[in-house]
Every structure is written in structure tokens, then in C-alpha cells.
Amino acid sequence: MTAQASQGDHGARIGSPMVAITGASGYLGSVLVGAFGAAGYEVRRLVRAPAAGSRDHFFDLSTGEAAGGLDDVDVLVHCAYDMTLTRRADIWRVNVFDSVALLDRALAAGVPRTIVVSSMSAYRGTKQLYGRSKLAIEVEARARGMRVVRPGLVYGPGWGGMAGTLRRLATMPILPDFGSTARQFTVSEDDFAFAMVAIAEAADLPAVPVGIAHRDPVDFRRLLAAFATGSARPAPRFVPVPAMAIYGALRALEVLPVALPVRADSLLGLVRPAPEVPNPDVLAQLGVAVRPFAAPAAASAETNAVGAPVMPL
């Protein structure tokens, strides 16, 4: 069964369970808002800037403020992660400590099911700060009996997050080639969305991080080339570049008060990816099959809007 094949199952829902999503205005969060809405959930966006007249609730990870945001919630999906922070201590304080505080509030509020959206960057032994912070949140979530997912590089028509950054990079005429170790595990928006709803609805799930990505990694060069095919520009030229030299240069530049297109830590995630997708059998047992990477044009042809996949005949 592919991700699309059983989307219709959600149509049989009686009543509307409530899902609250932190980081709902971010890329993955907005994908999930659409997916859970399409699956029949009442969706509560927990965001820093609630839309006027909407059912959004104010939520700020750094202050922990979420007045009433967890009341009557059946499923909490914790997507929020503040990528704007630059100081190491702030990154940890807000994204780890404040996430853990949110998990505790969810427990106190009696939220029956919480899913923490981690990352494929979170793997045993990673040196990447982002991956380490996600791992730290995972450890706390699992200790509280919560579910943890590790999405791969999510790509699709929404073009946000790291995929969006890479797509912008792909429009450049000359691109770095970091060698064969630079690769990513990928998942389309649709498959990610479908897997998340399936995980939210599963009665029992092993207490392990669930990878949401196709098992075959995609070479960084192939990824950029595929992302570039959507643009009208000529095919980019790849130039071999030592990744760690670029990493060192970025680290040095980060002490300067200049905005950089990519962080050293993010580069580390690209060139030192996870060795494999963790626990792929869990998704398989839920009847979810993540499709292999496809050029975005092909992927978007199957989808008419974020979170509203086309049903195959």
C-alpha cells in the first residue's frame, strides 16, 4: 500500500478529534495542518501570531505560554523549533528545555497522545547541534511515553524548510559537490503527511523513533540537480568542494554580525547524514510505504494542494 492508497480511511471518522500543532505556521507544521484537517480532525494551530478571527491559539516556545491551547486536545504534534537563535545556550534553552516544559504541560493537561517531530539529523553520535538538541528532546519524550518521529528531508510544492533552502541554492549556476558522503533521506510532503496521521491514529506503537523517509538516500548532487530542473535556468555546474573547509569557513564567519544563507551546523547535517532510516518496519506495519525520491515536478503532479493528495483510481 502506498501512502496515497488508504487516505480514504480517514473519511469514516465519527466526531472530530482535536489536534494541536505547535510550529503550525512553519513548513512542516503547515503541511500537517492541511493533512490533519483533510483527515477529519479539528485543527488548533499553536502559533506566535494567531490569525484574527481564527481558532488559533497563541503559543511561544520560548515563554511556554499557551493559554488554553492544550485544553480538550486529543493529539499534540510538537513541530516548533526556533531556527532564528544563534547562541548555543539559547538554542538549547529554548528548543530543548522549553520543549520539555511543553511536554510536561501536555502531560499535566491530560493530552492523551503527543508526537514529537524530531529529525533524521537526530541519530546516535551526531555532532550537529541541531541533531543533538533533537535527540535530547527525543530522550525526554520517550521517557514520558510519547511518540517520536524523524522525518527525512521533506520536499514538495510547499518548498519550505531545508528543501526550500536547497531549491534556492539550486538556482545558482555553480553548485558545490561535497562528494558521495553528502546525501539525504527524503520524503515527499504527501507521504510525510499521511505517515503522521497514521502514527497519530495507531493504537499501539513501539517505543522507538520512527523514521519517515524512503530507505534509499539521495546523493546531494542528484538532489540539487533535481531541484534545479524546476527552474528555467540552465543546468548547474558542480564543483568539488571539501565540505569541512566550507564548514570551517562558515563557523568563522558566524562570529561576524552578517546573515549567512546557510549555517555551519546545517551543512554538517547535509554532509554527515544519518546512516539509515530508523525502524522502518514500524511504518510498514501501519501500512505506510514511503515512496522513493522523485523529481519535484513529478511529485507535484500527484498533488493538487498541500495536504490534499489526489486519490489514485
Binding site: 545556550a89 535527540l135 535530547a136
Partner: protein
């Protein structure tokens, strides 16, 4: 009545005894070599224990506080307790143990209470993730941990370590922290997020001692005169006083077997050399990781084949601080481990290294480099002692070189344990995880004002940590080399191994509590009384 026989009197034996004596249908016998403190030292200790500190005689204190000889080179000297080496002394159990190179040869205790007479009293359970490779979950271990912690009387304060090692509600508060510890904890609290981002968590020690009665005489490291630090001998003292067990000392188990489904133990009297067979419905073997391995290998005739034990290798890390505290020689503090630094090498709560930090005690003076111990260096000592502390660290067993043992048929005739050769399998170089830890310590050194003196960090000799085991690890199915969850090898139905020899892994978090708890679990499950 059913009969049960326990071999040994260390923490594993104590855990087994607690479970057995909770079942009124069990008649429990304990056999042990049972070496104890020398009479003259016992007299001095008795006088100190019977009086308040202000009435102690200097002579008695000097005897009880006697320090081990320091051999230099960053090598930890063998600890003393109440001025004695009786926990390490050979009363027959070390006969035939041959250690290669610098490998520690005193790997089996013949003492009443085993090595718990000299342990650091640090008590933490294994983390939840540590049990991923065990056929037993942390949840299944919890009731047994609780029993063990209640028996040991745990003292600890709530802090960040509770994230991985939840503190029981009934833990008693620790005495106030010593000077350096208070500073480090304050600095950690102020920059907690930064320190944690480097994989390091800091918290106070969790100790098995009756903290509320501590007078802070500063003699913890040479033995508490009031016996406030837990030893498994305390458990056996109590069970003997209550007539719940029959205790027989002076016996060395040399052979195990089952005949027609009935287990029996051949024991040799340490004084006379005579032997006797002891029969019971079940036998629980608690001779320590290497002691049990030797007994089993000899009993099953498994000679001339290497067996590899995991060891959570120990290292010594001196640290200096820029800001001085007041001269610790004038302070009144307990001298057990004061605080812990936990390093999560890989971020998942599995690959944990731990460093226990000790502040001043007289042994620290003896360990200073020779020029600083010269009498003309007196004026320097104060400023130095105000800035130094000592860490004793551990690397997980799966990330460190193993201890290799080989049993050889004894040439000393029948009724003897096999000869056992011990050595380190692998390099004496630092395990890579220790490199990672030191790098992380250096990154947080300015924040904590705790600078590791890298050139003086030393890896202890093989088997020196006393945190070794896993020679017959628990597995889903038992076999010739693995045990089931009740510690049974394929060869035996009613002989259970209950000490660290059955650990599937040897994490770097503290060891003794899990030994005691797992022994309690094994016996409870074997008797069908597990909660």
C-alpha cells in the same frame, strides 16, 4: 521448607538474601570466606563508634585513618578501610589467579561484605536506554531497584541527573556540599543550557549512606567510624541477628554441579583444607564477576578458552580551578564523592560516561607530584589544595577494552578452583569515548571553572575499576555461554548466577545498585515471587 544456598556475601548475595528471606518457605544458608577486620583495628573502631567525635582518641583515629601507600604515576593506590586491606586480602580466593602486566590481581574479595567494604557508595540505576540490550526492562527492574535502595538508605538531592536517573521520593537529603562542589553547581545552574548543549550534565552525588547522622568528620574514604556508609555486611548482620539466614564463614566454593536435578556445591574449608558437599533446592552464585566466572568455568570443565568480560574502564582525572575556595583542610565536609559529571557521548542516553568528583581528603596530598610533597613546598600546598579536586571516571564497557580470562586446569589437584589467567584484551590507550569526554570537559571548563589536567589523566589498569562482568550474559535463550533471565546456564536448572557475570552490558553509571537489584530480581523470578 525449601532450601536455598547463597555463595558469597557481597551486594549480589545481599540482593539474593533479601529476596529469599522475604519468602517464609525458604531456609537460607550463606557460605562465604568471611574475612573481617583485624582484631586490634576492630578494637580501635569499636572505641570510636561508641563515643562522640570530641571524645575520640588521636591514636585510634590515626590507626583507622591509615592511608594506603601511593606508588605514583597517577595509579590509584589500593584503598584501605579502617586501616586494613582485608577486602583485598587473599584468604584462598586469589590462589591461582595470575594477572598479566599491570592487570589488577585482587579481583575477588574474600571479605564478609565483599568489595562493598571499600566501594564509593555511589548509587544510581542504569538508564532506561541501558536496558535496550537486556532481556529485562527498566520497568521490570524498578521494584527491585526500590528494594535495594531502601536497604542501602539512599541520600541524594533532586537535580538534572533525575532526568535519566529518577530520584526516589524517600531519598534523604545530602549534607551541605563542600566548597568546590558548591561553586561548580552554582556555575552549572547559571549556564545550564550551555553545558547541557555539550552533552554534559552535572548533579550531586547519590550516596548509600545515612546522611542525617553524618558528623562530617571527613573520614569517609578510610571508613566511617559510625558505619553510616552501606556495606552488604550490614544486610547480613541484620539477617543473622534476626535468625533469617544461617551464615557459615571460612568456606570457599570450588565446584558446582547438579546430580539428578539436585544442585550441590563442593566447598573447601579455608583453614583445614577439608571439603564438604552442600546440597540445596536452589543455589545462587554471587562470587563477583570474575569469581563466579572462574567457579563456573572450572565446574563445567571449560579450560583453555578465552572468555571476555566487559569492564567499565576507570580513569583518573585531576582538575584545577582558577578561583580558590577556602583551605579544605580547615573545612568539615564528608569526603565521599561530592558531585557527578555525566557525559552523553552520542546523545541518546546510552553511551554515558561518568566522572565522580572528590574534594580534599588526606589521600589527595599523598598523590601530589613529589616536588610538591617536599617539606619546603609547604607554603604552596594551601593554594594548591584550594584549587584542585580529583575525578574518578568510567567509560562504558562496550566502548572500552575487555578483560580476558582463561581458565587452566589446576595443577594443585582436585578440589581446587582452576588457575585463572587475567589480562586486558586490547590496547592500553585511551578509548575514543574518553577522548570525546575530555574534549567536552575542556569546552565547558571556562563555564564550570573545572579544568582537566589532561597530561595527568590516566587510565587505570585492567580490572582495576571493579566494574566488570558479562561473562555469561542474560539472553532470550540460555546456552553454554548465556544465561536466561534467572541466571541459569543451559547446563543447570537450579543453579543461578546472580552477580555481574550475567549483565548483558556494563554501563559506566554506578554498578553496585544494579548488581543488588538484579540479584533480587533473579531470585524473585526464580521463586515466582516477583512483584
Amino acid at each position: 521448607m525449601k532450601t536455598a544456598l547463597i555463595i558469597g556475601s557481597g551486594p549480589a548475595a545481599a540482593g539474593a538474601a533479601l529476596a529469599l528471606t522475604a519468602d517464609p518457605t525458604q531456609k537460607v544458608t550463606v557460605i562465604d570466606l568471611g574475612a573481617t577486620l583485624e582484631l586490634d583495628l576492630g578494637s580501635s573502631l569499636g572505641r570510636l563508634a561508641a563515643t562522640s567525635e570530641d571524645a575520640w582518641s588521636r591514636a585510634d583515629v590515626a590507626i583507622i585513618e591509615r592511608q594506603p601507600a601511593y606508588s605514583g604515576g597517577g595509579v590509584l593506590p589500593q584503598k584501605r578501610t579502617y586501616g586494613s586491606d582485608f577486602p583485598f586480602r587473599d584468604v584462598g580466593q586469589l590462589d591461582g589467579i595470575i594477572a598479566s602486566g599491570t592487570t589488577n590481581a585482587s579481583v575477588v574479595s574474600g571479605a564478609y561484605g565483599g568489595f562493598s567494604n571499600v566501594w564509593g557508595a555511589q548509587v544510581m540505576p542504569f538508564s532506561e536506554a541501558s536496558f535496550d540490550v537486556w532481556p529485562v526492562s527498566l520497568r521490570e527492574m524498578q521494584p527491585h531497584y526500590r528494594t535495594a535502595m531502601e536497604e542501602m538508605t539512599l541520600a541524594g538531592d533532586p537535580d538534572d541527573l533525575a532526568e535519566l536517573f529518577p530520584l526516589p521520593e524517600r531519598a534523604r537529603p545530602l549534607p551541605p556540599p563542600a566548597g568546590r562542589t558548591a561553586r561548580v553547581l552554582d556555575r552549572y545552574q547559571a549556564e545550564r543550557a550551555l553545558v547541557r548543549s555539550h552533552g554534559i550534565t552535572v548533579g550531586r552525588a547519590r550516596l548509600a549512606f545515612r546522611a542525617e547522622s553524618c558528623t562530617r568528620c571527613g573520614m569517609c574514604m578510610t571508613g566511617c567510624p559510625y558505619g553510616l556508609i552501606y556495606s552488604s555486611s550490614h544486610t547480613f548482620d541484620r539477617l543473622r541477628a534476626e535468625n533469617r539466614i544461617k551464615y557459615r564463614s571460612g568456606l570457599l566454593a570450588v565446584h558446582l554441579e547438579e546430580v539428578d536435578g539436585v544442585p550441590r556445591v563442593l566447598a573447601r574449608h579455608s583453614v583445614s583444607g577439608s571439603v564438604e558437599w552442600l546440597v540445596a533446592d536452589r543455589v545462587f552464585v554471587a562470587c563477583g564477576g570474575i569469581g563466579t566466572t572462574r567457579l563456573v568455568l572450572g565446574s563445567l570443565g571449560r579450560y583453555d578458552r578465552a572468555v571476555h568480560l566487559q569492564e567499565s574502564v576507570q580513569f583518573v582525572v585531576p582538575v584545577v580551578s582558577r578561583s580558590p575556595i577556602r583551605d579544605p583542610r580547615t573545612a568539615r565536609d564528608f569526603t565521599l564523592n561530592q558531585f557527578n559529571l555525566l557525559y552523553d557521548a552520542t546523545g541518546e542516553g546510552v553511551d554515558l560516561c561518568q566522572v565522580h568528583f572528590y574534594e580534599y581528603n588526606p589521600a589527595l596530598l599523598a598523590a601530589l607530584p613529589a616536588p610538591l610533597r617536599h617539606r619546603n613546598a609547604g607554603p604552596l600546598i594551601g593554594p594548591i589544595l584550594r584549587r584542585i579536586s580529583l575525578g574518578l571516571g568510567y567509560v562504558p564497557g562496550w566502548a572500552a577494552p575487555r578483560v580476558e580470562v582463561v581458565a587452566r586446569r589446576s595443577g594443585a589437584g582436585a578440589n581446587r578452583l582452576p588457575t585463572l589467567e587475567i589480562g586486558r584484551r586490547g590496547s592500553d590507550r585511551w578509548p575514543p569515548m574518553l577522548n570525546d569526554l575530555v574534549r567536552a570537559m575542556l569546552r565547558v571548563a571556562p563555564t564550570l571553572d573545572l579544568w582537566p589536567v589532561v597530561p595527568m589523566i590516566s587510565l587505570s589498569a585492567a580490572a582495576k575499576s571493579y566494574h566488570f562482568g558479562s561473562s555469561f550474559p542474560h539472553d532470550r535463550a540460555r546456552s553454554a555461554t548465556t544465561t536466561d533471565r534467572t541466571g541459569r546456564l543451559a547446563a543447570w536448572e537450579k543453579i543461578h548466577l546472580v552477580d555481574a557475570s550475567v549483565f548483558p552490558s556494563v554501563p559506566a553509571t554506578t554498578f553496585t545498585l544494579t548488581i543488588m537489584a538484579n540479584a533480587h530480581r533473579i531470585v524473585s523470578e526464580a521463586l515466582g515471587t516477583s512483584r
